[in-house]
Each structure stands twice: as C-alpha cells, then as structure tokens.
Symmetry: C2
Subunit: 373 residues, 2 copies
C-alpha cells in the first residue's frame, strides 16, 4: 500500500472512525484502524465488537485530487497514534507507505514516522452489508430524535434492554423511546414508508452516531434482527442491537391531567439549579408547590440548610398541589423540549409528571415524582 | 450580623478566598469561610492550615456603596456552597443575615437560602500580621518570577524542600529557584532594598497566589522564619514555609558551554510535540542530533515505532553532538523563556543543558540529559 493523501481529509475521516475505538479495549487489535486502499479509495475501519465504523476517503472530491501516487494494499496501525500524528503534521499532503509489510511510514518531508503495523489478517471480519428494512431520515430529524430521548436511557447494566433506545416503526411513523424506569422520553417522526419493526439500539452508540452524522443531510437506517446499520456520506456504522422485548410504555404516559403549570423554561431551570445546591442527602430532590397565586421550588437538607425560590412568570390551572421530584431529571426533560415555555402537567402528588412543549406534539417527557416525608 | 451587599463584589471576594480551601479537608471546619463584619468592612477568611487567605470587602469603593443596611457580627458557613449560591443568584444586591446565631440567611427577593452556620469560635486563630522583612514587587514581575520557576519544583513529597520555590534576597536582588533535581529554573528581579533572607515557599501555593493577584499592580511580601505573607489589594495570604536548607544550586548552572543551538521556539515545540508521540516505553525521551548542516529530533520505541523530525530554521555552533532528554522538560523550559527564539547551550552529551532567551539575562532554565542505550 502506498499513497499521497490530503491531510485534512485524512484527519476528518480518522476522527470519524475513532468513534469505533473503545477507550479501553482488552483485545489489542481493536485499538487499531484498518486502512485499505482499493478501487473505491482509502477505507478506514474500526470496531469495538459492538460498534463498527467504516469510512471511505475517495480518490477525488469534485474535481480536487484527494489521493494520488498510489498502490493498493492494506495495513493495521494503532488508531489514536495515527490520528495524533496526522493532526499535528503541518503539510497539506502526506505520503503513506507500507514498508516490508510491518512498518507504516508517514512522511511530509519535514516529519517522518514509522509505525509498527500488524498483519491485516488479525483484524476481525466485519459486516457492513445492509439487510432487512431500510429507511431514510433527514439528519436534523435523526439528531432531534436521539438528543430528545437517549439521555433518559438507563446507565446501569442490570436490565440491559433499558440501556437502549427503542426504535419502533408503525403506520408511517418512527418512534424512539428511552426509559430508566424513573423517567421516560418519547419522540416520533413521520416516515415515507409504512414499515414495521422494533429495534433496541444502545443509547450511547446512538448518541455517538448523531455526533458523527452532524454535518450531513441524510442518514439511512437498515434494520435487521441482530444489527442496525447507519449510512451517511461515505460512512457506514454497524451497531449491535440489544436483545429482549422492550417494556410496554404506552400506559405510562397519562391520557389526561388535572393540573397544568406553564412556565418560562429558562427561569425554571435557573431556579432549580440554585435550589438543588442545598438538596444534600437526597441528591437533587426539590419540592414544587403550586397555586394560582404562587409557585415555589424548595428543598431542605439537615446538613446544609434550606432554600426557597419564587417563580415570577407562570400560569397554573388546578387546585393547589405539592409534588417532589429529582430536579436533574426535570431539568433534562425541560431542556429536551427546546422551547421558550414548557408545560408541566400533573395528575396528582404521586403520579407521573409530563413535561411538554405544547407547540410540538411529536415528543413527550415523563418524570416520576419521589416520595418525601 | 446583617448586611446588604453588592453581589458581584461578594462573588469576586469569595472566589479569591476559595483558594484557601483544600479540595478535600479532613477537618470539617476548614471547609468553611469565616465572615466577619467589622468597622473595616466584610472580612472573608479561609484556611487549610498551610495557606490562609483573608480578603476585605470595604463599605464603599470610590463613591459607590458596596455594603449598606448592616449590623456587625460574624458567621461560619460552607465556603463552596455559599460561593455557588452567590454566583447563581441574579439580583444586583443580596441581603445576608445571621438568624439565631445558627442560620445564615441569604435573600435577594426571589431566592431565599438558609445555610447552617457553625459557631465562629470553632474557626482556628490565624495570623495575618506582617513580621520580619518586607518588600514590594510589581505584580507583573512577581507573576513572571513564579511562572518561570514554579513548574520546575518537585511534585513528590520525598524531599519536601524540593516542592518549594526558594526565594533568596541578596545585594538588591530577589532570586527564585526551583528544581526537582532533573531540571532547574532560576529567575532574578531587582529590588529597591538591600535585603538578606532565604525562604522556601510551597510552589503550588506560589502559583495560586500569582493567579489571585493577577489583576493588581503591586504585591507586598513579608518574610519571617516560619511564614511568608503576601498582601495585595484588600487581600492578605499567609503561606507556611518549608523548613530545611535549600540545596546549593549555583554550581549546577554551567559557566561556559561548547555547543550552541539557536532555534525558533515554536518550531522546536511543535517538532518535539509530534516526535514524543512515539516515545513509548520511556516517556517523552527524544534525541537531538545537531551538526552545522542538520538538526534532527528523533525517538524510537519497540512497541510503537520511530519518528524523525528535521528543523528548518536553526544556527548551530560546535562539533556535531547528540543528546537525549525528556522533551516535556525542555518544552516547559522553552515556554518559560517567553521569546520567539531560544538558545540551547551544551557542554557535552551527559552535561546539563541550558535553555535561554539570550535577550533576557534574568532567567535561566537547566535540564539534565538522560542516558539512552
């Protein structure tokens, strides 16, 4: 393998495939990027067994040469080191050459690096072939769907299926749901086809893929029983799915409410941010007390003291109500609404709270209250 | 104690005294700030036993009221919580009141916080009285002196005296020296008086004090046997001194050299930064090979591979020479020179290297080479 390549393109693509490298990997070969120069261009491939990333740097972009002076071949080198070398080099183009099958030389005239290269055969065989159902989404919709749900997935591995975002296609709609059993986030986008599938995608991978695709317009999803493929630009990402039935969540979302509080999102966030400074022993628990004339947020800790905040702008409908919750969960829900005003709706002291942007019916955020003495 | 105070001034002063709070303290009362309102204003005091900070917020700054509506008194409250409350509040002025001697109430009309307050008597008695020798420095000189030496002090506690910067006054000069025994940094500033003292100030405290005084013009040092006081603006800092004789360092700095390399500081830094990516097993060790016609920086690791860099702009005087060193130490020395070009001077392969800005005779950086195979 031998090539002269545009440094910026190489760095951009390395940054993408680094998402496939685990921060700590027990299998040394998985800290490598596989480089393969074939008729399509330079393929960069990484994997951590659960997530695999392949991106292709083409020979030309428009009428600009990206790869010249080449000979096909393949090599395996430590991905982070290669990325840092390419990042810190200064020339516009760099020469890469596999020497004696064991050394990858990277040279720009000023700097010369010789990286130990592992035999390509040691790299696992990966599957980037789309199978099953395929659908296309605007990246902006995809990112919203991920950012408005993935945060609510569980961080704990006890119930693996709750670490996923469930993607459910029915009746020309794609619905994403995530829950850690104390809160739930749901977002729906319209799709052109009438598809029928349910897939549990690890939430942390979904968030990584959203970041990787950020600058693109369209993303294509291919869903089969065991895997989901995401294709955008010159990149394909394969994520394993989490097996098991996703819990039925339809009944968690209340159908009607008895109390409604409309508030300015920013004022609510800042008030909760201050008050929760004192929610010592039970982390982030605050109490919301509402009546038509006054809304306060308060907390009390034996160790630190107490805090009370008054909201200045609000509209409350219903009988006076007091309800306690984890303010970090409500804050995340309010932020996910991405709107100036949010409406919190309640059924009663110990019933799920919904947080909504009333102008956007495609998403809902649910938070379970906590009991206080 | 009761007062109405300008929130910004309060926050600025709390940020200063937070430097006196250790990140983890085994003694609970030392996570508190002592607030004392007396005829001078509001005194804020913190300590971690080794470093103590006192700052005074005056009643007025110029013709602007800072503290009004007051009653003298004192209170002890958790410093970080108080700082975060004051930071996140939104009003221009806040009301503070000690209630029943056990609760400190902080209120701005919108937010009301009641912090548990500890008895003031539990706070240690601290000494902010200047004793011994006193001298005044421009803060810009003081910061240069600290920033160009403190980084070279030892991080390890085995020889406590090496964790200090030695401040030595002789013949109308103040000299700061720091060494971790693999490198040495020295900086001299002229002073108006002919003083005579030697004080070992903990390097980490010195760096903190430099940051605290950053926005001021003058700083006053009072040095006695056991302590050093730094006074600037409305703040006094007391640092303990490290006992023991500071090692004699005069003979470490060579009097003459056999080889001289003049290089562009930035080019040298960038080349070392790249090459050291591959200095695997022995962290940061690189080899500098110099002749009149070529200067290269290289490294080799069995695990990762090898790297060679050519410098494009240099002037070398002397016979060809190869020397190996810790590139992180040389990089820190080059940065401390704060100049476009630096001169590295050598006596031989295993002799101390000096790094200098040839236009600034007040400082010198010495790095000991390392032996390679």
């Amino acid at each position: 393998m031998k090539l002269k390549i545009n440094r910026e393109q190489m760095l951009k693509s390395l940054t993408v495939v680094l998402h496939g490298i685990a921060s700590k990997t027990p299998i040394p070969v998985m800290s490598n990027v596989k480089m393969e120069l074939n008729e399509k261009g330079l393929l960069l491939v990484t994997t951590n067994n659960e997530l695999s990333v392949r991106t292709t740097i083409p020979y030309m972009i428009g009428s600009t040469d990206i790869i010249t002076n080449y000979r096909e071949g393949a090599a395996l080198v430590e991905a982070r080191t290669l990325t840092e070398i390419v990042r810190r080099m200064e020339a516009k183009e760099i020469n890469i050459e596999l020497v004696d099958n064991v050394i990858l030389q990277i040279d720009d005239g000023r700097s010369n690096f010789k990286l130990n290269s592992v035999k390509v055969e040691e790299f696992p065989l990966l599957d980037f072939e789309p199978t099953g159902v395929t659908l296309s989404l605007r990246v902006s919709d995809f990112i919203k769907m991920v950012d408005q749900t993935a945060f609510a997935a569980s961080q704990k591995e006890q119930r693996p299926v709750l670490t996923a975002v469930n993607l459910l296609a029915r009746d020309s709609e794609l619905t994403a749901v995530a829950t850690d059993s104390a809160r739930l986030s749901r977002k729906t986008v319209k799709i052109d086809q009438n598809l029928n599938f349910s897939a549990n995608v690890p939430a942390k991978f979904l968030s990584e893929i959203a970041r990787m695709a950020e600058t693109e317009d369209e993303i294509e999803l291919s869903v089969s029983d065991k895997k989901i493929l995401f294709a955008f630009d010159n990149t394909v990402v394969n994520s394993r799915l989490i097996s098991g039935e996703y819990p039925a969540t339809q009944n968690i979302v209340p159908r009607s409410y008895n109390y409604f509080l409309e508030v300015n999102a920013d004022e609510l966030l800042r008030a909760m941010d201050r008050v929760s400074l004192l929610s010592g022993e039970r982390e982030n628990v605050v109490k919301l007390a509402m009546s038509a004339s006054e809304v306060t947020i308060s907390t009390k800790s034996n160790q630190k003291g107490s805090a009370v905040e008054q909201l200045s702008t609000f509209q409350f409908t219903g009988e006076p109500l007091q309800i306690s919750f984890n303010s970090a969960f409500v804050a995340a829900a309010v932020k996910a609404c991405r709107s100036e005003d949010v409406t919190l709706s309640f059924l009663g002291e110990m019933k799920p709270i919904s947080v909504r942007n009333m102008e956007d019916e495609t998403q809902i955020q649910i938070v379970t209250p906590v009991r206080t003495y």
